[in-house]
Each structure stands twice: as structure tokens, then as C-alpha cells.
């Protein structure tokens, strides 16, 4: 087997380690300190924000308008409907304002 395959195996193992390590550490503790609980509770918002940020700031007018509309719609509507309308709106806006 070539070295490339060993590299890919190493990448797979290392990535699996990142996916299991946090759980294995936290599961060791019976109860968690309130601060740790608060930290873990903040993980989805903290990380997803960083994922959403680059496309939001890189977008032009059509994209940024769509993001605002999507946020407003998501306060009332379900995910599939919000997503569908947003994509249609974005396609239209791009066609109109480029």
C-alpha cells in the first residue's frame, strides 16, 4: 500500500479522534460544574456563528438581503419552507440585481 493511503488512514483516524475525544472526556464526569455546563450549552451558537460568518460578509447585496429575509422568516416558519423561499428569493435577486 502506498504512503498516500497511509496518510489518508491517518487523516481518518485523527478526524475520528476529534469526533470522539470531547465526549469521552465529558462522559468521565458524573456532574458538571455550572460553568462547564454553560460553556457546552454555548457550543452550537458559538461554532455555527463562525461557519456562517464568511459567506455572510462575502455576499453581495442579493446574498445579504436573502440572509436578512431568511432570519426573519425563520422566526415564524419551519426550516424547509424558510430554506425553499430563501433560495427562490436569492435566485430572483441574483437574476435582477446580479
Amino acid at each position: 500500500m502506498s504512503d498516500t493511503y497511509w496518510l489518508i488512514i491517518a487523516l481518518g483516524v485523527a478526524t475520528y479522534a476529534t469526533r470522539s475525544l470531547g465526549y469521552l472526556i465529558v462522559a468521565q464526569f458524573g456532574t458538571l460544574h455550572p460553568r462547564v455546563m454553560a460553556a457546552l450549552d454555548a457550543v452550537p451558537a458559538a461554532v455555527i456563528t463562525t461557519i456562517v460568518l464568511p459567506p455572510v460578509i462575502a455576499g453581495g447585496l442579493a446574498e445579504q438581503a436573502t440572509f436578512v429575509i431568511a432570519v426573519l422568516m425563520s422566526l415564524r416558519l419551519s426550516m424547509p419552507i424558510t430554506l425553499f423561499i430563501s433560495i427562490v428569493v436569492l435566485a430572483l435577486l441574483r437574476a435582477v440585481i446580479g
Binding site: 504512503d3 498516500t4 493511503y5 496518510l7 489518508i8 488512514i9 491517518a10 487523516l11 481518518g12 485523527a14 478526524t15 475520528y16 476529534t18 469526533r19 470522539s20 475525544l21 470531547g22 465526549y23 469521552l24 472526556i25 465529558v26 462522559a27 458538571l32 460544574h33 455550572p34 460553568r35 462547564v36 454553560a38 460553556a39 457546552l40 450549552d41 454555548a42 457550543v43 452550537p44 451558537a45 458559538a46 461554532v47 455555527i48 456563528t49 463562525t50 461557519i51 456562517v52 460568518l53 464568511p54 459567506p55 455572510v56 460578509i57 436573502t66 440572509f67 431568511a70 432570519v71 425563520s74 426550516m79 424547509p80 424558510t82 430554506l83 430563501s86 433560495i87 427562490v88 436569492l90
Partner: protein, 238 residues
């Protein structure tokens, strides 16, 4: 239909926007890997073994022979560092999972499956009759995404990008909007607004100074630290 099947189905349905987006995203990865000179089997093996798109794209940037093994390994771990946070956040939420199910599920921990798991757990906590987060739901979502990701990568490598001009149809923005809506969905959590603002500000500063992918880990750590500080104080005052 029994509840296990129902939960698997629900997982697939909740992941459906990701599954659609992954056709385009996986296709692009396959096409870029082909351009970078990776043979088909290496591309398929890489995509199947790692299953973390952002880190795979980063790895491709360094994929020149002779391969800089250590560099590639380090950048992949850096980009996937957030998974440690995800799996830690799930630390007390997988009680319904058997150990074999946990070992299998860890492999599929990703941005969308983690966010869906957190959301499903939250719903379960609100209603005592709800089964809550189970392996059936998690693996339903995961096994909806994974095969499509691998097949799309394969086809992308063979035929080039699967969808010409994904921008024209707005497909390139399915994932950003999906994650944005998921993010808004967590707004009932303590100090959500300040976590988002602090993480976003730190990520922005990291992006314009250090560049991608450092904005993810830095932004995340700042947001989580603020969450711990504000959350801990509220507990102490109560």
C-alpha cells in the same frame, strides 16, 4: 410503523437540505481533487475515511508530491478541532445510545448532524412523552448524508462538477442559509445573543488577520468562554 423507523425517517427528513447541498459540494470536491491530480481511488478513500468537507478542501491545497504528511495532518486536525467541542457538548446527551451505536455515531459527528442532534435533544427535554435524541435519529440523518457525499465526490471526480453554475440556482447558499436558520433556532438558550456577537466578532478579526480556517476555532473558543463566564455568574447568583 414503530418509533425507531419514525425517528430514522425524521433524521433523514431533517437532513434533507444538507443531502441536496452535498450533491453539489461533494461534486465540487471530486472535481477539485481531480484537478489537483489525485487519482479516483485516493479521492474516494479520502472522502469516505474523513467525511469532513472543509478539512478535505484544506488538505487538497497542500497535496503536492512529495506529500507534506505532517503539514496535511496538522491542518486537517486544526480544521476539525471544532468536532472536539461538538462531541464534548454531546457528552451528557447520548444516554439513549448503546456503546456500539456511540462508536458508530462519533464517525458521523459533523456541523449539520451535531446541530440536528442538539435541536432534537432540546425538543425531547421539553416533552416527557418524546423519546428525545436517539441513535435512530442521529444515524438516520448521518446515513442520509454520508452515501450521497461519497457518491457525489466520486461522480464529481469522473465527470467534473455535477451542476453547472450552482450560483444560478442558489444551491451554493443552501448550506449557509441552513446553518443560519439552525443558529436562530438556538436563540432560547442562555446568553445566546452575546455568544453569537462575541464569537462572530472574534471570528471576523481572526478571518481578516490570520485567515481561514483559524476563524472557526478562535471564534468558537471566544464565544464559549463568554458563555461560561455569563452562564456561571447567573448560576452563582441564583
Amino acid at each position: 410503523m414503530n418509533w425507531k423507523f419514525q425517528e430514522m425517517k425524521r433524521g433523514v427528513i431533517d437532513a434533507l437540505p444538507v443531502i441536496i447541498a452535498v450533491v453539489a459540494f461533494g461534486g465540487v470536491f471530486g472535481a477539485v481533487a481531480a484537478e489537483r491530480g489525485l487519482p479516483l481511488w485516493e479521492t474516494v478513500f479520502l472522502t469516505a475515511a474523513v467525511f469532513a468537507g472543509a478539512s478535505q478542501f484544506t488538505a487538497l491545497q497542500f497535496w503536492d508530491h512529495p506529500l507534506p504528511y505532517v503539514t496535511i495532518l496538522l491542518v486537517v486536525v486544526a480544521v476539525n478541532f471544532r468536532h472536539i467541542l461538538y462531541s464534548a457538548a454531546l457528552g451528557k446527551k447520548l444516554d439513549n445510545f448503546s456503546w456500539p451505536a456511540k462508536i458508530l455515531s462519533f464517525f458521523f459527528v459533523s456541523d449539520p448532524t451535531f446541530a440536528l442532534a442538539e435541536k432534537r435533544f432540546e425538543e425531547g427535554a421539553k416533552n416527557p412523552d418524546d423519546v428525545g435524541l436517539t441513535a435512530y435519529y442521529f444515524l438516520g440523518a448521518s446515513l442520509g448524508i454520508y452515501p450521497v457525499w461519497v457518491v457525489a465526490t466520486t461522480l464529481g471526480h469522473i465527470f467534473g462538477g455535477l451542476i453547472e453554475n450552482p450560483e444560478r440556482y442558489g444551491i451554493d447558499f443552501i448550506l449557509p442559509i441552513y446553518f443560519l436558520v439552525l443558529l436562530i433556532g438556538f436563540r432560547a438558550r442562555a446568553n445566546w445573543f452575546w455568544v453569537v456577537v462575541s464569537s462572530g466578532t472574534a471570528a471576523y478579526l481572526a478571518l481578516i488577520t490570520l485567515g481561514s480556517p483559524w476563524h472557526i476555532s478562535i471564534g468558537a473558543l471566544v464565544g464559549i468562554t463568554l458563555g461560561a463566564i455569563l452562564g456561571g455568574e447567573k448560576e452563582a447568583a441564583a
